[in-house]
Symmetry: C2
C-alpha cells in the first residue's frame, strides 16, 4: 500500500488496521509481543487495557487470516463463500442446500447463488433427493473434488507456516481462549 501521501504531520503514522496499529511490535517484561502504537494510543485512557489489547490483536489476526484465505481463494477462482461450500461438501459429502445454509451460517438465497456459480464452473452439481423430492442436494463433481483437495493440501502447508514457532501447548491454549471468547460472545449476541 502507500497510495498518496505520508506527510508525517501527525503523532506517528505507522499504523494500519481496525482501531489500532500493528506494524511495530515490541515485547513486554514477560517477553510477550504487543503493539507499540496501540499502547501509545491507549496510554492517556485510564482503563485496563489488557482486554482491549487482546481483542484488538485477535481482530487483527482474524482479519489477516481472512485476507490470506480470500487472496488464496481467488487465486483458485473462488470466493470465500464458494470455498466454504466446497470444503463443507468435501467433509460431509453431498448435502441438501438447506443444510448448507444452516451450517455455513448463511441464507437460502445466498446458497442458491453460490451453488449456481459453482455449478456454472463445473465444480458442483445438483442432484435430486429421492427421499424428499422438494429437496436438492449439492455434490462435488470429480473436477470439484480434485480442485478442493488440492486447495486443502496447499492450505494445510500455509497453516503450518503461519503457526511457526508455536508449541502444541500454545496452540491448544490459543484454541481454548478463542472458543471461550466465542462462547461468551454468543451469550452476548443472545443465541
Amino acid at each position: 500500500m502507500k497510495h498518496f501521501n505520508m506527510n508525517e504531520t501527525n503523532v506517528k503514522s505507522s499504523g494500519s488496521e481496525i482501531h489500532g496499529a500493528v506494524h511495530e511490535l515490541g515485547r513486554d517484561e514477560a517477553g510477550r509481543l504487543y503493539s507499540v502504537h496501540m499502547r501509545e494510543l491507549m496510554k492517556p485512557l485510564e482503563v485496563d487495557t489488557s482486554a482491549v489489547e487482546a481483542l484488538a490483536a485477535l481482530r487483527i489476526a482474524g482479519k489477516t487470516l481472512r485476507m490470506m484465505q480470500e487472496r488464496w481463494a481467488e487465486k483458485h477462482d473462488l470466493s470465500e463463500g464458494r470455498l466454504g461450500v466446497m470444503f463443507r461438501l468435501l467433509r460431509v459429502g453431498d448435502c441438501p442446500l438447506g443444510d448448507l445454509a444452516d451450517e455455513l451460517d448463511s441464507t437460502p438465497r445466498n446458497i442458491t447463488g453460490l451453488v449456481d456459480h459453482l455449478e456454472r464452473d463445473g465444480l458442483v452439481e445438483r442432484v435430486p433427493d429421492p427421499q424428499d423430492r422438494r429437496s436438492v442436494r449439492a455434490r462435488l463433481t470429480a473436477a470439484g473434488k480434485q480442485r478442493i483437495e488440492a486447495i486443502w493440501r496447499e492450505g494445510l502447508e500455509h497453516q503450518f507456516e503461519v503457526v511457526g514457532g508455536m508449541s502444541k501447548d500454545d496452540l491448544a491454549q490459543l484454541r481454548h481462549l478463542c472458543l471461550q471468547l466465542v462462547e461468551n460472545a454468543r451469550k452476548e449476541l443472545g443465541k
Copy 2:
C-alpha cells in the same frame, strides 16, 4: 437462523461457520475447550490437527467479533469502515485523508467515499490544510465526537463482558499468540 429445513439425513448437522462447526463444545483432558464437530471431521485425516483447530477457532472468534462490531456499528448508523475512520480521528485528532487510507489499510477512493458519507451525516468535516493546499484533513464535528465517544464507552463494556472468565495473564497470552501469528502471516504475505 434456521431457514428452511434441517432434515438430519447427514452425519451431524450441528454446524456453523467457516470450515468447521462450533456450537457443541467439549473439553479435552487438560480442561480446554474444543469443537466436537470439528474434531470429528478431522479424525479421518491423518494430520496433526492442533494447528488447524487453533486457526479455525481463531477465525471463528475473529468472525464473531467482527459480527458483533458490525451489528453494533449499524445500530449507530455506521459501517465498519466509517466506524474505523471515526475511531481513528478520535485517537489521532484531525488527519489528512491520505493518512487515513494508509492507517486503515484502505484506498484513497474508499476513504473519499467514507468521508463523504460521514460528512453527509454531520459527523466529520473536511478542513483545508494550510501547510499543504493539495491536502484535505478530516476532523470530527462536535456531534461526531460526542457520538464516537459514546460508542467507545459502550464498546468497552461489551469487551469486558466478552472476556469474562479470562485472567490478565490469559489475555496477555492471547495477545501474544495472535501477534506472533500476524507476524508470521505478514512474512507469508510478503510485506
